[in-house]
Symmetry: C2
Subunit: 351 residues, 2 copies
């Protein structure tokens, strides 16, 4: 006697078994049809599909997850407080890309914030329980332990913005080197002769690469790189102000600044304006990110655009692949696992 019989019986959702009975086939066959296996004859497939439709059968995800040891869900992990998530268009663009790529998939997307210790502990628990098949990691700092946790748990993951040249995880990045380079080449072409740069936090790999691009662009144009024109910033507006102030003191005659984020460019602009320098006539200014700030600045800011939505799509693709052929990540072609997408210089009136 079925002690639980009353629960599932009649009235509950139909099961595979019931569909099988209706279609006059075995349980295994229905499963094959549901999962799109090619090893089913056309006639049988049609019969099963009819039964599925008549009964309104919908697979039980929990049972499937238990039996197949997968969850059909991936997580987008945001190691930032919610406020930043809503404030920065970066995340919404990324989310749009991921969502688009997932939309013709059975995969479910979870959004998980890990902005504080409590949330991080929760996330760790969550991952330990293997409640997702894979993880999309955005905006990770160099010293974040999350990627290592993922590796240890053997959960497929893709990171946007590798932590270093030797990033172990598959990654998708925009061409920070090329972005920095194109900004400077543009300033050179414009006729600027004293080009400074305000860098991002140099513990962020991408920020380093932008500086590399700056250096190489100058060198390739036959100019000497003057290290005193390279000022460390921290991606903040205040940092931009500080660096610009210092720069103006060091080099009153400079005629171009490449700020490696729009926010820092905004800070620099304030200082330039207070110093009575006109943009772009006295000093040309170029930013990075092509954010809303850039478009609304006065004058509108030339900026390097990163294809964020496309990065989201690419990350998702990569992750789905990783999940599909679930073998030790290290045994696969490393080249396929590092994508770098091109950036684009958007010219506006500030240069």
């Amino acid at each position: 006697m079925a002690s639980h019989g009353a629960r599932g019986r009649s009235g509950g959702r139909p099961t595979l078994e019931e569909v099988a009975a209706r279609a006059g086939v075995g349980r295994g066959t229905v499963s094959r049809v549901i999962n799109g296996s090619p090893r089913v004859s056309d006639a049988t497939r049609a019969a099963v599909e009819a039964a599925v439709a008549e009964l309104g059968y919908v697979p039980n995800t929990a049972a499937r997850a238990l039996a197949a040891n997968r969850t059909d869900a991936i997580a987008l992990v945001v190691p930032e407080p919610e406020t930043r998530f809503f404030a920065e268009p970066y995340f919404s663009d990324m989310l749009r890309g991921v969502g688009a790529e997932l939309s013709d998939t059975e995969m479910q997307l979870l959004l998980i914030f890990a902005g504080n210790d409590r949330e991080r502990r929760r996330l760790a628990q969550y991952l330990a329980a293997h409640r997702v098949d894979g993880v999309l990691l955005v905006s990770v700092h160099a010293d974040d332990p999350l990627p290592d946790l993922l590796a240890q748990l053997e959960i497929p993951a893709v990171i946007s913005g590798p932590r270093s040249e030797h990033e172990a995880l598959p990654s998708v990045d925009s061409d920070n080197y090329g972005g920095g380079r194109s900004a400077v080449e543009h300033l050179i072409a414009r006729g600027c002769s004293h080009i400074a740069t305000i860098t991002g936090r140099l513990d962020v790999y991408g920020a380093q690469r932008r500086v590399d691009g700056y250096r190489d662009a100058l060198r390739d144009a036959g100019r000497a790189v003057d290290e005193t024109l390279i000022l460390p910033g921290d991606f903040t507006e205040e940092g931009g102000r500080r660096a610009m102030t210092e720069l103006l003191a060091r080099r009153p005659r400079l005629d171009a600044v490449f700020a490696e984020s729009d926010v820092m460019a905004a800070g620099a602009r304030q200082v330039l304006r207070e110093a009575g320098r006109r943009i772009p006539d006295d000093v040309a200014l170029v930013g990075y990110d092509d954010s809303a700030i850039a478009r609304h600045m006065d004058p509108p800011l030339t900026s390097v655009r990163q294809p964020i939505e496309e990065m989201g799509r690419a990350m998702t693709d990569l992750l789905l692949e990783e999940i599909a052929d679930r073998r030790p990540a290290s045994s696969r072609d490393p080249e396929r696992r590092r994508l770098v997408l091109p950036t684009e210089l958007v010219r506006r009136d500030s240069s």
Copy 2:
């Protein structure tokens, strides 16, 4: 012989059975400890907890879901395109409230957009598969079929902003009536004598209630309600402009406007300014929502604040209750199932 033995065996995650063996107790007992049942002796509980810690045991969610017929997840369904979700602080506040209330729970929150047909079909499929234990519904229009689908599927749900006075679902709302009333009472107290209102879309129940509050405030102050001072808007800036233009034409001498959303107030402000009316000296202006727009308007806008975050918390509470005592919703005390939270008039310089 276990044909699958190789998969789960040694190296995989520990199971309940393994914890039981380690602690020297039965499977049932471990399950009781894990789930916090009181029917376990202290000594046994301690032994089990030790074993759990040593083995690093984490329950398998899929197995639990299958056996217990629940998912430990709820969904926040947003029947809007993503863009609006990010643009309007309403959602981020709501999300914060829900998240806070869930944070000391095992419940997982899913964010689901249903802004277009495709997404809606996906959602329907998702709900049919009972992949969540309950649903939080925000920003639902009067003719949305979603609530009925939920009812039919017998999925517990709570709606923010009931669709009518007779809303079948449990609901949480802010006191739209009281909000409208307090805005108008404020304008009366200020000495205004010709008070107009620009309403929201009247197929939204809350918008109607604000108008009711407007009417009653005037009536209770012993004033006649002049229907020509009630202009229909649609919550948009353009709608606010149109209504204000019409209003100015109808009643050149009006000295106060209650716009039932900040966005419409912004539209009205433009028209007033173009007409050379000073705010608040010539015309006092009050908005609704207390959004960022209100704070940044010139002059800063007096506005009715809704406790959105708190509404999120309340909805979550209600939903968790619904899920906990899962009986036909109709058999429960209806009073507990409709919450109305107070609004607050935030006075600024526009009135």
